[in-house]
């Protein structure tokens, strides 16, 4: 995790870094992700897929125990 003082220093240096061709948009995006760590939509959808598969199999067990689908 980047600290606020580090971010401020980076902000100061960014124009020079971009002018020199050292830092590009993807790298800026990486810096932002360090500050605000998030998953992508695809990663989140994959997690929901796992939740649904697990819940479906658990529902089948619960239905058997409650007398449904015996």
């Amino acid at each position: 995790m980047i600290t606020i003082p580090q971010l401020l220093i980076l902000m100061q240096a960014l124009p020079a870094l971009i002018n020199a061709g050292i830092m590009v948009k993807d790298q800026i995006s990486s810096v932002i992700k360090m500050f605000f760590p998030t998953m992508t939509e695809d990663e989140l959808n994959a997690i929901v897929g796992i939740i649904i598969i697990n819940a479906e199999s658990r529902k089948i067990i619960a239905d058997r125990d409650s007398g449904v689908n015996n």
Partner: protein
């Protein structure tokens, strides 16, 4: 020149942060549902271990474990046993999880929060009340259900 670039960078960071914050809300909601699902699985495992001698092999409305009667799973309420009542609520809860998960995939942070998540919470609360009333000594089971409830993030 440098001040224009600085301004551009600041705008870029702010706009990215806003987009990221929206995704972060969705992430918190989905990860909360995942933790809740795992806790509810744990609750189901505990209840089945109390009900059946061999929970991996057995299923059904009749408990085979002698402990079941001692803890209160065989007690009759509304013409069925507590075990069946718990299983019915678990079935509804897992069904609500499926609906909540499906709704969260399409959900955007600017949209109203999916009602299916609230529906899921209501069922969990109902399950918790039932277990607390009829299985008051089963604190681990109660804790698992409470964890399933607490994990849900409501904006």
């Amino acid at each position: 020149m440098f001040s224009k670039i600085k301004f551009f960078i600041v705008i870029l960071i702010i706009s990215s942060a806003c987009a990221t914050t929206g995704l972060k809300l969705k992430q918190n909601a989905i990860l909360g549902l995942q933790v809740s699902e795992t806790s509810l699985e744990g609750a189901q495992n505990i209840e089945r271990a109390l009900c059946f001698n061999n929970p991996l092999q057995e299923s059904g409305t009749n408990c085979t474990n002698q402990i079941a009667g001692l803890v209160g799973l065989n007690k009759i309420i509304n013409d069925t046993t507590v075990h069946v009542q718990i299983s019915r609520l678990l079935s509804r809860a897992f069904d609500a999880q499926i609906k909540a998960g499906t709704a969260l995939i399409a959900w955007r942070s600017s949209d109203p929060y999916p009602t299916s998540v609230n529906d899921y919470l209501k069922i969990i609360s109902e399950l918790f009340d039932l277990v607390r009333q009829y299985l008051p000594d089963q604190l681990t089971l109660q804790l698992k259900i409470e964890s399933a409830k607490e994990a849900i993030v409501i904006r």
